[in-house]
């Protein structure tokens, strides 16, 4: 580049006021959108999101029947569905059932899992049943559970517990097995009372596994609740989606699905946060990002 007599770069050519404002605001927004790699990432993600919604809207408008859900229509009905007391009742029913079932499965599953992990008798006696029932798709059991528990909320609860229990047992068992033997040796050497061995060593060091199992269990429990509601026609989010989809009110029905997804995501994020906040020493492959 050419320089002037004392070695300075030639100054920019003088601009008009309006042009300068445009350039400056352009630079400002470019900085917000692309200024750092993190910002660029977010921009890409948001842009893709809009692209997906756009393609959805146009594609459905061109090729699908009129009742099929479109993003703009969903956004239109979204507030009214959220304010609808029927929907609130349904959401509350499902969530309450899922949480109750998860609580039962968590306590029972932890006890059984730790027993299986630490005492070989229980492992040998129950391994066959736990593995078999874990693999059994809970949906296949649904007809049986409705006959046993009637067409009522009990059937849903039983399905949720059944779906959640075994994944917790299996994970807690693996956790209890992987307690470092040195810790237990130290306990023995110092004649630590049993409650320390069980609660402070075994339970505590299997906690990360417990959380992993709990995450898995929560997903399965949500699916179980929805299937049970479909099958038994119970009031809940699943039924809300089903009845709206059947009466061709797809936009309303999608709101129900969104509620389910939000619940799943929220749960996942909370568990992630808990793991990072309270168990920073615990890193399982694939969970680090």
């Amino acid at each position: 580049m050419t320089t002037d007599a004392i070695g300075r770069l030639p100054t920019e050519r003088p601009r008009g006021k309006i042009e300068a404002v445009i350039v400056r605001t352009g630079a400002f927004f470019a900085n917000i959108l692309w200024g750092t790699p993190a910002r660029a990432k977010i921009t890409i993600k948001v842009a893709t999101g809009f692209l997906i919604l756009f393609v959805w809207q146009i594609g459905v408008a061109l090729f699908a029947a009129n009742f099929v859900a479109k993003p703009i229509n969903i956004a239109k009905v979204f507030p009214s569905v959220l304010a609808d007391p029927l929907f609130q009742q349904a959401a509350w029913n499902t969530l309450a059932a899922v949480f109750q079932g998860l609580a039962v499965a968590l306590v029972a599953g932890t006890v059984v899992g730790i027993a299986m992990g630490r005492m070989k008798v229980f492992d040998r006696a129950l391994n066959f049943y736990v593995n078999g029932l874990y693999t059994m798709p809970m949906i296949a059991l649904l007809p049986l559970l409705t006959i046993w528990f009637g067409y009522s909320g009990d059937a849903r609860m039983a399905t949720i517990i059944f779906a959640a229990f075994f994944s917790i047992v299996i994970n807690v068992r693996d956790g209890a097995r992987s307690v470092p033997p040195e810790y237990l040796d130290v306990c023995k050497t110092y004649r630590a009372p049993a409650r320390f061995v069980w609660f402070d060593i075994t339970l505590f060091s299997s906690l990360p596994y417990l959380i992993a199992g709990f995450r898995l269990a929560a997903g399965r429990a949500l699916v179980a609740a929805v299937i049970a509601e479909f099958f038994v026609s119970l009031n809940g989010v699943g039924m809300f989606v089903l009845s709206n989809a059947r009466s061709f009110k797809h936009n309303e029905a999608v709101v129900g699905v969104v509620a389910l997804v939000l619940f799943g995501l929220l749960f996942e994020l909370t568990m992630n946060w808990i793991t990072r906040r309270y168990f920073p020493w615990y890193r399982r492959e694939g969970q680090s990002n």
């Binding site: 990432k41 890409i44 993600k45 842009a47 893709t48 999101g49 997906i52 699908a64 029947a65 009742f67 859900a69 005492m119 070989k120 008798v121 040998r124 006696a125 129950l126 391994n127 066959f128 049943y129 078999g132 693999t135 059994m136 798709p137 809970m138 949906i139 296949a140 059991l141 649904l142 007809p143 049986l144 409705t146 006959i147 997903g219 949500l222 699916v223 929805v226 299937i227 479909f230 099958f231 989010v237 699943g238 989606v241 089903l242 989809a245 059947r246 061709f248 797809h250 029905a253 129900g256 699905v257 389910l260 997804v261 799943g264 995501l265 996942e268 399982r284 492959e285 694939g286 990002n289």
Partner: protein, 268 residues
Amino acid sequence: MTKILALINSDRWAVRWGTIVLSLLAGGLLWESAGWSSNQAIMAPLIGGGDHPGTIPRLYKYLVHDEEYRLSLLQSVGLFTTGFSLALVAAIPLGIVMARFVTLRIALESYILVLYVTPMIALIPFIMSIFGFDFWPKVLVVYLFAFFPILYNTLEGARSVKPEMLEVAKSFRSSEIAIWRDILIPYTLPYALTGVRQAAGRALVGMVAAEFLLSTSGLGEELITASRNFDMAGVLATILVITCLGITFMRTAQAFEQKYAAWRGVNR
């Protein structure tokens, strides 16, 4: 007390197998007695006899003498295989492509995560009213259940491909084909196989759900018919068949995973 504990927890051959056999016997006995002592519309015994038809004889009858039942079984397996292989063929290449094109990965990964946690079961009503009750809507259900676990895990693998590797490959002027063959595919495949195992379980749920909620067919139909007739032996026998199917699919996927993913060194 401690002696007894030490004995029942010991690794002796007799103790180990004794415990297993005893527990199986106890479970069978419990099932049998529950079947005999309750109404036959509520529970069927394991072996049974007389006016309490048993589960095992029914299973034998279904699989050996019942032509229609075997057809149902084949129908279900066909549904599962079609949906699952379509998901496999679509998800794994997409995941590997995302390992190469980082921008594409960044753009899509959040949305894939969202779809991964979406309970696909909630989409069945939409599929029902948009696509109807044919064979292919059911395949779509199985496909949706299987696709996202595979894609999500393959994506996890794509994220684990070290950029240094690609840089080294680039500085040695490695050809594009070699990059794919020697870096991308070996790196992502183990993760993809973890996803395949996960997907096998989910797709089985999808299969039964599709057969329940869309046009009933296959094992789902057998299950529903039996439960509507309060034929508990039939219900339990079909549940056993579905579970065995599940175990077969999962074991196959697991065997693949262990064969090709052993070097990853983690057992998830």
